[in-house]
Chain length 332, copies 2
């Protein structure tokens, strides 16, 4: 059997889990009576906003950075990100004393810019419309010999994010829940493809479903076309963390094999999820982090009588954004 080195296998997720265990938080699996009643099913919530840095991104960054050879670490790491991957990379780099430079859009949420700064990273701002973040990062790599830590198109990153699926499956068994489906927010696809790979081994009867924002549903389009396809990406989405117009090569290769379906949500759906999480779940969810919850709340009738899990992938939301979403959808 030939092995494609750009595509992780299940053993890579197990190795990632062991590697990051001393630093990553094992987030709990929560259940909420109101949500169960509303959907008419058993809904288990994986709150990755409780992960270090407020999103799952710490896992992939930790798994990747711990594999950088010792002699390269002092030359630093560089990443481009609207904020969650930025904080993940900055926090891991700080843990191990590695200099970090993060290329961030100037319009990133304040919470994310300040979070990234708080871990001691150097921030290089660029304009989302006119700047080329990959070129800026590449220049830093060639100038100082730093290692680029990609946000999703890297097997070590995907394996790290896949540890969410490993944990979730084990915790569901402990709760006596037989999971029929897991819903996961999707930007470049690192998280959802990692989870799909994990579940294909440890819970093969569980379907994995990606949820993307309107205009950035590259995973859905790619799976329909049978090849990587770029979404129109015309307008800004409320889900700043999911604005990747196309899935990565590695995530898409896994998704073709292990992903069962793909859903799209709009800004109203996302605002409802943020408001519902605040008012009923008492959780701070950012719009992108609540994409899977948004799908469940909108399409509740479809999930009646099931046992499902919803990944809440991040909570790095400015208070103003939460207040706006709560005002937009006052009775979510």
């Amino acid at each position: 059997m030939s092995v494609d080195p750009t595509v992780p296998i299940f053993a890579d997720i197990e190795a990632a889990a062991a590697r990051i265990k001393p630093w990553a938080i094992e987030t709990p699996l929560l259940e909420n009576a109101d949500l169960n009643a509303r959907v008419g099913s058993r809904v288990l919530l994986k709150p990755e906003m409780f992960q270090r840095t407020g999103s799952f991104k710490f896992r992939g960054a930790c798994n990747r950075i711990l594999q950088i050879p010792q002699e390269d670490r002092k030359k630093g790491v560089v990443a481009f990100s609207s904020g969650n991957h930025a904080q993940g990379v900055a926090a891991v780099a700080a843990l191990f004393g590695i200099p970090a430079t993060i290329v961030m859009p100037a319009d990133a949420p304040k919470a994310k810019i300040e979070g990234t700064k708080s871990y001691g990273a150097k921030i290089v701002a660029y304009d989302r419309q006119t700047g080329d973040r990959e070129a800026i990062a590449a220049e830093i790599v060639s100038r100082q010999g730093a290692t680029l830590v990609k946000p999703f198109d890297d097997p070590a990153i995907v394996a790290g994010q896949g540890t969410v699926g490993l944990e979730l499956a084990r915790q569901a068994v402990q709760l006596g829940a037989k999971l029929e489906a897991v819903f996961v927010p999707c930007g470049g696809g690192g998280l959802v493809s990692g989870i799909a790979l994990a579940l294909s081994s440890v819970s093969p009867d569980t379907h994995t479903v990606s949820v993307e924002p309107e205009g950035y549903d590259g995973m859905r389009l790619s799976r329909e076309a049978g090849e990587r396809t770029t979404a129109p990406a015309r307008q800004k989405s409320m889900a700043d963390s999911l604005m990747a117009p196309a899935p990565g090569v590695t995530p898409f290769a896994l998704a073709e094999k292990h992903l069962h379906s793909s859903i799209t949500v709009n800004d109203d759906d996302l605002a409802r999820a943020v408001s519902y999480a605040f008012r009923r779940l008492k959780l701070v969810v950012e719009p992108g982090g609540g994409a899977a919850l948004a799908a469940i709340l909108r399409d509740a009738a479809q999930f009646r009588g099931r046992t499902i899990a919803v990944v809440l992938s991040g909570g790095n939301c400015d208070p103003e954004t939460t207040a706006d979403c709560c005002a937009r959808i006052p009775t979510p």
Copy 2:
């Protein structure tokens, strides 16, 4: 040994735990890397905002209402409360098909009024300055034969709230934590005295500490005076759920035996806790629910090197209040 029927014993908490188990949520015990680093100790968080109705009050209400004789249940229950006890009573009554009337101040947070309505309770509003909520409730009791469910001065209520302590102690052992102290928000003292009683049996080396808002620190004053004492209660506190000027008879009797110390926090401390919970813990905490966290954040230096637990007692906060606290303390 003579037994005072107004004061619960440890076995009452064990009985309460068994009685409410089918309905109450077992809330997790969480840990946050940022909080640990900030305080320089191991801080375990008991997030009771994840309890049904968004606060611990469901526990006591459930334990009390399940002990109402079947023939009295149809005559209904009545309660007076600024909102969390109201929702607890309303939700438990709804579960068992019991009519509920709640006497609420007209200036209670919207989230609490709407929450109480959503469980189908009848709401009677009164003016906090000019109305007498106890008289209004007594009139309903005498007119319709309803059972009054008191907010804290009742051994069944205190035993129900004490289940938080039972859970917390067991979960701490599972995490390998030897708890030196548990910090608990205190209004009338039902929660903190129940927890203190539970810990005196299952974790006798753990100190229980009450945290009250300025101007409503009746527990602290009472313990200093050696008798129930009323705090000045001159100005409204941000902690609407802790505005009881004196501890109840039952809570104070337990507190005299089992409470180790009492701390007071002001509105700035409370706003800091709400902002910190939102920004770093990704939890929605109401000002009163965050009182114990407020004390820990303010006095962090005192707790260095310890293992402690903090009860976050409720999260029924209007989004505007959270946004105001986050604006007041932008870098908590």
